[in-house]
C-alpha cells in the first residue's frame, strides 16, 4: 500500500480541530492500514515526525430510506479513523481540504 492509499482524507471536524493544539491530527485511513503504515504515510506526505498513532474502527451508521409505499434501509460503510500525534512544535496545514490534489 502506498502512502496515498493509506491516508484517504484528513478528518476536519469540530472535534478533530480541538486536537490540533496537542499536535494531534485525525485522518480517515484505509480499512486495513496498520499503525506502522499510517506512521510512515503521514511522515512521507507531510514531512513530519510521528510520535504516536491511535486508531479506531468506526462502524457505519444504519440509514433508513422512506419512500412512498416502500421502506428500505441501508448501511453506511465502516471506516477507520487514525489520530496521529506529532513531535512537539510540528504541524500539518489542514487548511486546504483537498490536500491530496497536487
Amino acid at each position: 500500500m502506498r502512502a496515498r492509499e493509506v491516508i484517504i482524507a484528513p478528518l476536519i471536524t469540530e472535534k478533530s480541530m480541538s486536537g490540533t493544539t496537542r499536535q494531534q491530527y485525525a485522518f480517515e485511513v484505509h480499512r486495513r492500514a496498520t499503525k506502522t503504515q499510517i506512521r510512515q504515510a503521514v511522515a512521507e506526505i507531510f514531512k513530519v515526525d510521528v510520535l504516536k498513532v491511535n486508531t479506531v474502527n468506526v462502524a457505519g451508521k444504519k440509514k433508513n430510506f422512506a419512500r412512498r409505499g416502500t421502506r428500505t434501509s441501508g448501511m453506511q460503510p465502516d471506516w477507520k479513523k487514525a489520530i496521529v500525534t506529532l513531535k512537539p512544535g510540528q504541524k500539518i496545514e489542514l487548511g486546504g481540504l483537498n490536500y491530496f490534489e497536487h
Binding site: E14, G95, L97
Partner: protein, 441 residues
C-alpha cells in the same frame, strides 16, 4: 484608522480619497467572518463553530472580503464626510482603487455636496406688506354672510321676483331640437342676475307657481360651450314653487345658533378672531414671498445640479400628472398653451433653481442661527395635523414615520422664516381702510 483627502472638483462636487489601513480591513473581515459563519453549513461543524480557514476553504475568502467591504465602506465614508465637514446632497459614486500589497486600501468617492454659502445681511430686511388688521366692516360682512346662509325658505303664493328661490323644470331647444345640458327638473335656484345666461332670469320673473312659459334667449358669443355660443334657444320653463328666503334677525338669539355661550358681541368677537388669524397667515405668506425674493437676490452661490435636476423633474412629473387628471393629453395641453416641451422644461428648471436655492439658503440660515425642531415643535405639529385630518395622533405618527426627516425639515424651514420675519423691519400697508358700515338688510 482611515484617513481621507478632499478635492473639490467644482463648488458642488467633491472627490474624496479614503484610505483604509490593513489593520482596519482585517478587523472588518474578522467581523464579517463571524457574521457569515453563523449561517454557514459545514460538515463536521455546528453552525458558527467552523474555524476561519475551514470556512474559507469551502466558501472562498472573497465572500468574507465582500461582506467586510459592504459594512466598512459606508462606515468610513460617513466618517470621512464628518471629518471634512461636508454635506452631501445625494449618494456617492464609489470606486475602489487598484490594490497594492502591503499598502492601505484606497477608495475614491465622488459626491455632490452642499455649496458653501456666505451669508450676509439676512437680518433686518425692510419689507412692505399688507396689514393684518381687520376692519370693522369685514366683520360685518362675514356676519351678514352667516345670516344669509342661515336663511329659512318660506313658500309664497305669488309670481317670481328677484331674490326669490324658485324650483324649476326646464328644457331648452335650438331650432326645436333639445340639446345636451339644456334640461333640468326640480332645480332649486336663487333668482338673481348673472346666474344663467342673460335673459333667462329676467324671463322667469313674473311666472307663478305651476305656470309654464317659453323663454327665448341667445347664448353669448363667448359662451364656454362652443356648440351653443351665439345660438338662439327657446326654454320651456315650469315654475314648481316660489319661496322667499327669510333672514333671521341679528340678535343674541342668532349668535346662540353658532355658540350657545355667546351673545351677538361675542359672535362678532369670534368672527374677528377668525378673520384676524386668516389675515395674519395671509400677510405672513405674502411677506415670506417678498422676504425670500430679497434673500435670493442678496445671495449668489452655485447650486448642486443634481438637486436642481431632481426638483425640475419632479415639477415636470407633477405638471404632467395634473394635466392627465384634467383629462388632457400632454401634447394637446402643450399645443393649447402654445408651448413646446422644451420651453416648459426650461421654465420648470428656472422654478426648480429658485426652490433649491431657497431651500439651501434657509437651511444655511437655520444652521447659522442654530434653529432646530424641538420635541415640542414636533408634538404641536402632530397635534395640528391630527386635528386637520381628523385622525387620532397615533395614526398620524404612524403615517409620518417614514417621512419624519422631511417633517422636521418643514418645521425648521417654517421656524427659520418666522425668525427672519421677526428680524425684518416690516412696513405695513394699510389694508381695507374704507370703513363703510353696511347696514344689515
Amino acid at each position: 484608522m482611515s484617513a481621507s483627502t478632499v478635492k473639490h472638483l467644482d463648488p458642488t462636487q467633491v472627490e474624496l480619497e479614503i484610505s483604509i489601513s490593513r489593520d482596519e480591513l482585517d478587523a472588518a473581515r474578522e467581523r464579517a467572518f463571524k457574521q457569515l459563519v453563523r449561517n454557514a453549513k459545514i460538515p463536521g461543524f455546528r453552525p458558527g463553530k467552523a474555524p476561519r480557514k475551514v470556512f474559507e476553504a469551502q466558501y472562498g475568502s472573497e465572500v468574507i472580503s465582500e461582506r467586510a467591504m459592504d459594512a466598512l465602506v459606508p462606515d468610513v465614508y460617513m466618517r470621512a464626510i464628518r471629518e471634512n465637514d461636508l454635506e452631501p446632497v445625494d449618494q456617492p459614486q464609489m470606486e475602489l482603487l487598484p490594490d497594492e500589497e502591503g499598502q492601505p486600501l484606497r477608495l475614491r468617492a465622488t459626491v455632490n455636496v452642499r455649496p458653501e454659502i456666505g451669508l450676509h445681511d439676512y437680518k433686518g430686511i425692510e419689507l412692505t406688506g399688507p396689514s393684518a388688521a381687520v376692519a370693522d366692516d369685514e366683520v360685518e360682512r362675514s356676519l351678514e354672510a352667516l345670516r344669509r346662509d342661515s336663511a329659512t325658505l318660506v313658500p309664497v303664493d305669488r309670481a317670481v321676483e328677484f331674490g326669490d328661490v324658485a324650483t324649476l323644470d326646464y328644457e331648452g331647444r335650438i331650432d326645436g331640437v333639445p340639446f345636451e345640458g339644456g334640461k333640468a327638473e326640480n332645480q332649486s335656484t336663487e333668482i338673481a342676475q348673472g346666474r344663467f345666461i342673460p335673459g333667462f332670469t329676467e324671463g322667469i320673473v313674473g311666472i307663478r307657481a305651476g305656470e309654464t312659459k317659453e323663454i327665448e334667449v341667445t347664448f353669448p358669443a363667448d359662451y364656454s360651450n362652443k356648440d351653443l355660443a351665439a345660438k338662439n334657444a327657446v326654454f320651456s320653463v315650469t315654475v314648481q314653487d316660489v319661496k322667499v328666503p327669510e333672514y333671521p334677525a341679528l340678535d343674541d338669539e342668532f349668535a346662540k345658533r353658532f355658540n350657545p355661550e355667546a351673545d351677538l358681541a361675542g359672535l362678532r368677537g369670534d368672527l374677528r378672531t377668525r378673520l384676524e388669524s386668516a389675515a395674519k397667515s395671509r400677510a405672513r405668506r405674502a411677506l415670506s414671498t417678498v422676504l425670500v425674493d430679497r434673500l435670493l437676490a442678496k445671495h449668489e452661490f452655485p447650486l448642486p445640479s443634481v438637486m436642481v435636476e431632481r426638483e425640475s423633474e419632479s415639477i415636470y412629473q407633477e405638471a404632467q400628472a395634473y394635466v392627465a387628471r384634467a383629462g388632457l393629453k400632454w401634447a394637446d395641453y402643450l399645443e393649447q398653451q402654445n408651448r413646446t416641451d422644451d420651453s416648459v422644461r426650461a421654465e420648470y428648471r428656472a422654478e426648480a433653481e429658485r426652490r433649491v436655492k431657497t431651500t439651501l439658503l434657509l437651511e444655511a440660515i437655520a444652521k447659522a442661527e442654530k434653529i432646530e425642531a424641538t420635541e415640542a415643535d414636533l408634538e404641536s405639529e402632530i397635534t395640528s395635523l391630527s386635528r386637520q385630518y381628523g385622525q387620532p395622533r397615533q395614526a398620524i405618527v404612524e403615517m409620518l414615520r417614514p417621512n419624519l426627516a422631511s417633517l422636521i425639515d418643514g418645521i425648521v424651514r417654517s421656524k427659520t422664516l418666522d425668525f427672519l420675519l421677526d428680524q425684518a423691519k416690516i412696513i405695513e400697508l394699510p389694508a381695507g381702510t374704507e370703513a363703510t358700515k353696511t347696514a344689515p338688510a
